[in-house]
Each structure stands twice: as structure tokens, then as C-alpha cells.
Symmetry: D3
Subunit: 156 residues, 6 copies
Amino acid sequence: MSKTIYFGSGWFNEDQLAAYNDAYMALEQNPTVDMYNSYIPREHQYHDLEVADHPELLHDREWSTGTFRGDINGIKTSDVTVAIYLPFDEDPGLAMEIGYAHAIGKHVLMVIPDEHYGEDINLMTWGGADNVIKMSQLSNYNFNRPTFDFYEGGVY
Amino acid sequence: MSKTIYFGSGWFNEDQLAAYNDAYMALEQNPTVDMYNSYIPREHQYHDLEVADHPELLHDREWSTGTFRGDINGIKTSDVTVAIYLPFDEDPGLAMEIGYAHAIGKHVLMVIPDEHYGEDINLMTWGGADNVIKMSQLSNYNFNRPTFDFYEGGVY
Amino acid sequence: MSKTIYFGSGWFNEDQLAAYNDAYMALEQNPTVDMYNSYIPREHQYHDLEVADHPELLHDREWSTGTFRGDINGIKTSDVTVAIYLPFDEDPGLAMEIGYAHAIGKHVLMVIPDEHYGEDINLMTWGGADNVIKMSQLSNYNFNRPTFDFYEGGVY
Amino acid sequence: MSKTIYFGSGWFNEDQLAAYNDAYMALEQNPTVDMYNSYIPREHQYHDLEVADHPELLHDREWSTGTFRGDINGIKTSDVTVAIYLPFDEDPGLAMEIGYAHAIGKHVLMVIPDEHYGEDINLMTWGGADNVIKMSQLSNYNFNRPTFDFYEGGVY
Amino acid sequence: MSKTIYFGSGWFNEDQLAAYNDAYMALEQNPTVDMYNSYIPREHQYHDLEVADHPELLHDREWSTGTFRGDINGIKTSDVTVAIYLPFDEDPGLAMEIGYAHAIGKHVLMVIPDEHYGEDINLMTWGGADNVIKMSQLSNYNFNRPTFDFYEGGVY
Amino acid sequence: MSKTIYFGSGWFNEDQLAAYNDAYMALEQNPTVDMYNSYIPREHQYHDLEVADHPELLHDREWSTGTFRGDINGIKTSDVTVAIYLPFDEDPGLAMEIGYAHAIGKHVLMVIPDEHYGEDINLMTWGGADNVIKMSQLSNYNFNRPTFDFYEGGVY
């Protein structure tokens, strides 16, 4: 038995990309995650078009709506929402996804790079998470038996 | 007839405070808003304690949970979620509230200071908003007859 | 005290238009309905453009999405969903709205023209309605004190 | 890995029956669908009684409620809601199910017979669908990796 | 401005009846409650039939379903769910309503008779409540400005 | 294929414990249930602390909140909510869970010890259940093909 995930993570600066890659590899090693059938937003940009390559998409409402509905669909069709979370660079898109996933009843697992685990995070995203682990715990986390626990760090 | 709102806005730096004050005044002038019975998170910190004055609260789970559930309660018990939104300083707490409010079926009205209206905003918070107006339109916006419209700015 | 409604009704053929007009007038006479602040989909076509006048809109995804989200927004922001229902001409758009409104917890009031009241209706739309009245009862129905009751007609 | 579906389709006239049978066979061939454990409404009429054989059921509220709650339960307990959709014969029961499934966060896959794919469909059911495919694509559609896309036909 | 309530309370033994009456009177005196337009389950038994007078209703599924859907409808159409709660006689029907109201996002106000305030209550109903007050506070409680707070008593 | 369950049952008196054990054993024998990956509240008390051993927890809000959120999380992350239900000892915690699970769209299976099956149960918990079976049927119940049916006993 394994679970599918919504891979919530930015990939728009170096810190995000580093955490993105670490988390991706850890999840691929995790035997309780079916990564192949999970939803990776970056691989689901509407019609495979990325803003970085096509800046005109910034104002294209078909592309925006298609990508937005795709990601919402990914949260809905996946068992768990994984949020790769950087306390020093809290991402608004990821935060919105945490709020949405929490409201519709998905398990929200927040993952923080070890060297930043314990740093203060925002109160609302904190409350939306069902558990908060370190990056180094991700490859062994049992997605089939999720438990609730509070974050050990501060909340502002 | 008038509507109650959840006043979604940060107050943690100068830009946020300026927008906070502009929006607060505009809403008090708006005859379609019952500001007295609306939910202002800053006035509902758990047991009237603020982190700025009591840094030990950062690690107090009773305070965190009380404040979190208070704000969620504010979104639930108010007619409209107003999000005072700064494109150059997108706030994770506000973004989470937009995701949550969108998911539970509240009308989400995003308000952007005039001088920043049109600047790019995050795709997920964009999709969570039902309408996006300028700060100068806030005092005259008819909360009794909310309409949907797309943001005129870019979305990344 | 009065309630706002989402005015669910087609206006695409003569039967629908006749029922539309009857219901509209009845609701304007009803002292428990605030018709001025209610959501009338026909008055909220995206940017006031109607397909009848602009057939090219049929394939315009910005227009479709804008109109769809507008109507969903109307259901969310109104107290009661009123469904003007013709047993001999059951409308798929109205049926979808009944399913959506039922699922998000809105009171769904089905209104059937007197001469067709009692005729068989579809099982799923039947189950989505909280009460079913005759057109002639609409001007006096107390929207402030909604009750549940079963439709007296058949269900197929 | 495979997904369970709610098989949304009428079986009340020849066109519906033809599409019903085509879709049923395609889904049985699809390796990503667990058809045996999926919910087929026709096989779940309350206490195995069908209106066609027992016209008195039309007015039996225990039967109506039992069948209605059974179908709602089928939508809730299945991973994906498949809607076999005929543009020239849009069914109100199916439309209600699309609205309900969309509102509670199920992936809604609309399937249209090839010869009618591209014809105009209703705006509200269009907006409730997460993807729209041709009947001939159904046996190969990957239910484990659902994506969002817009219908290529018109919307009225 | 005033709010409507769902009056959650048993009336099946003397203790329940005493609390029922105290709460009813307090709410009628409360200027922030519109008691006339609120939902009182006892006044909405299906077709005005009560089990106490008609024991055959115990097995009548039309009556059971009608009364159940009526009460659910009352929770949905009222602003606040008031739960008149006896720690020494926790009622399963009321507990179910607390769970339901909490899940669909209604403010749940628990009211406990003064002489029992502080006694231990069940963990799950405790978690479903947004605030817990004494009976003597009910006539002055401001329903227009609901706040979250924890119960001061024990939780088992 | 098998389903995970939320094991809703008290363990606070002898009757509850007896039913708890019977149900637990039946579920372990049921090939359509993955008991190992199911959520057993008793095994998820916050930080493995039980009130029976630590009476001071009765007033500890971190423990209460942690246990409450854990159980809510268990309902959300499991496929089916199983409610071990004693008509003569209806439990408020279990009743709340039935209301919550019903509202968020989980299949609720009520299980009653054979010797008490048919006894009257509360109207609201009755309405929240999707099916009601005898304890002796539990080991063979097909969780992969859940159906709706009414309870055969009385409802008060």
C-alpha cells in the first residue's frame, strides 16, 4: 500500500530549488509514497507552457485558469499535501495551498530543511499543518499511518 | 443592509501598516460594511496578548491554537473575506486565509494599493480571489452586490 | 429582516421565460426577499456580454470561466438558492446548480408552475431540494423561516 | 494501482443506453480502473427495485430516499466521478451529480461519444468538469494521473 | 443587526427540559438574537408529529428522514448553532449536531448551566465548540461579535 | 484492494470494552480492511498519554488539542468511519464523530452488537449513518463495495 501526494513546493529561486530536489529524491526513496502517480505541479503547467519561457502568459487568462485548476485538481486527487516549507522564505502560493488543503480535509505534511527546523513560522500556515517534520525524516516517514503533532519551533 | 467582513491584513512592517490603515478607514466609510461587527484579527489575539509584547508566546501552544482558531472562526462567521494584498510583499498568513476562505465558499475580495495595482501576483492567491479592486475603490465598493471579475494585472 | 437569493432559472425558450417572469415578479412582491441585492445570473453575464448577441463567445474560455465563476459566486454569496423548475423541461444548468448548492449547505427551494406541480421529476434533483412549492405560493413564502418538506409529486 | 469510479450515466432511452454500454465496456478494459469495486447506480437501486418494473415506487419516499442516498454515497466513496455526457440530450440527474461531485472535491471526468465531441454543452456542467474526453479515449485514459483541461467544444 | 440560531437542546427528561426553558428565555431576552426567525427543532418535527404522541413513528422512515433533514436544514440556514449542554447528561443527538455544524463551518456556542460549568466534558464535543459560556451569560452574549475561547473545565 | 478505517468506539466502561474487542477482532479478520494502516484513536492519544493514567491532562489544553486534532485527522485520512454503537449507551464522542464524518463526506458504517440490534437509537446519529449492520456481520462486510441502507430498528 502506498499514498499519492501533491508536491507543494516552489522552484523559483535557488533555495526553493535545493529543497525541491532534496524532497523529490527523498519521496522517491520512500516506499509508502507512489511518486509516479503523484501530482507534481511543475510537470502540470497548462499545456506544458512555463512563464519563464513565455512571459506573455503572465496576462493570459486561459493559461492562468488552466494552471490554477490543474493544481487545485492535484490537491483534490492526491491523498496527502506535502508542503516543502522554508521558514526564511515563506511562499504565498504554497501557503494558499495549505489553507485550501486544510479546509477540504486533506492531511497536510509540512517538511522543513533540517538546518532551518525550529525557526519561527507564520501562525496561519502552522495551524493548517497536521504534522511538521525535518527533511532528513522524509524518506522514512510512514505516509500510510499519518499522525498529528505540533511543530517544535516558534510561531509568530 | 450591510455585510460583515474578515479583515485580512498584516501589520508587521511599515508597508503593511500603511495599507492596513488605509483599508480600515475606507471600510469604516463604506455604508455597505458593518465594521463594528466585523472581525479584525489584531483585536482578537488570544486573551489580548500580542507576540510583540510577549515573545514567550512564540512557543506557547495554547496561545497559538487560541489565536489560530479565533481567526478561522472570524473567517467562518463573517460574510466576506477582505484581503489587503501587497504584490511586492505577499504575506503567507494572508495567502493561507485566502486558500481557506475560497475552499469553504466565502467571497474573497482582494484589495491592492493603487500604486501597485497591475503588478504581478502569485497564481494560487490570484485564483482564490473572486474580485480584485484598487484601494481607492474600497470605500465605494458595494458589498451587498459582489461580482466576480479577473485581476487586470499579471499572474506568475 | 430579509434574505438574498440566487435566482436559478433558464431564459432560453418560451416556457423558461414565462416561468422566469412569473417567479421574478413573485419574488419582488415577497417582503422576506431582498431582490435588489440578490444574484440574478442573467444580469451577471461576464462583462455584460450574452452568447445570444455574441456567438463567438461560445469558444471564449475567458468569457466562459468568468460567467461560470460569477454564477458559483452568486450561489455562495446568497442565502437561498431558488430553482425555477419545469418538470417537462428539466434544465441541466439548473440541475448542476442544485447539486452544487446542496453540497455546500445552501437551502434549495424548488418552485414549480402550478399547472405542472405534481408531475414526475428527476430523483437526483428531487433529493437536492429542501422544499418544493407552487409558483402561486412564492410571493408569500417566508424565506426567514425555511422548513424542509418532501415534494408531493412523483420521482423517477 | 487502480481507481474506483462513480459511473454517472442514464439508461432511460436508446441513446443513453448505447453510450452506457460503450462506456461500461471501455472502463472494464481500462487497467487503471477497478470496475468490480466501482459504484454503478443501476446496480444499486434501493432493495434492487426499479421504477420501470414498479411504477408505484414513483411516490414511495422510502425508496426515493434510499436510492438518492445510495447514489450520493456512491459519489462519496468512489475516487472519480465519470459522467457519460450526451450534448444533444443533457440529463438533469447527471448534471446534478456533476455539481455535487465538483463541490465536494471529486475529480469529474466527462466522456462524450466521438461523433458528438465538440458540440455545445451547458456552461454550468462544463465548469463542473475537470477534463472532457472522447469515448474512444476512455479505455486508455490513465485514471491514476488525472489532469485538468478545457473542453474543446463550445459552451452556451 | 441580529443573528439567527439553531437551538440545539434535548427535551426528553427533566434536566434537559429545565435547561431548555432557561436557555429559551435567555435567548428571547438577548437583543442580538432573532429568536422569531431561528430554528427550534421541537417546533419542526415532520408534519408536527412527535414520537411521544405517536410511537408508531419510531419505525416510519418518511417521518425519520423528514425530521432529520429538517434539523440539518435548520443548522444550515441559521447563523449560529447553540448547544445547551449538560456535562452529566451528554446527549448523542446534540453531540452529532456539534460535529456536523463544526464540519460545515458554523460557529458553535456551547452553553452550560452555571452549577455544572467546569465539570468534565467529552473531548470531541469540546473540540467542536468555538466558545463555552454559562447559562447566566446567555442573555447578554453578543452574537454579532463571536469570539473563540477554550472551555475552562476539564476534558476527558 | 482494501480500505482503511477510523475505528470509532469508546473504551471507558465494560460494555464499550467488550464491543471494542469484538469489533477489533472482526475487523482484523476482514480481508477488505487494512487494519494495520487504520486509525485506532486509543493508539493515538497525544504523545501516548492517557487521561486514566494522568488525570492532570484533563486541564491540559495542549494535550486536549493534540488528541482532538489527531482524531479529526484520523477521520480525514481513513476511507471509512466505523462507529461501534451501543443503543443503550450512546456515546457523545462517537456521536460527534458521526456528525463530523457525515458532513465531510466519509462513508459511516454503524455496527451494533447482535443482541441489541433493532433497539431504538437517536434520530441524528441514525441520519448520519450510511448503513447499520450487526456485529456478527462485520468480519464479512465488503468494505470495497459499500451500500446505503436504513437501520431496521426504531429511531427516536
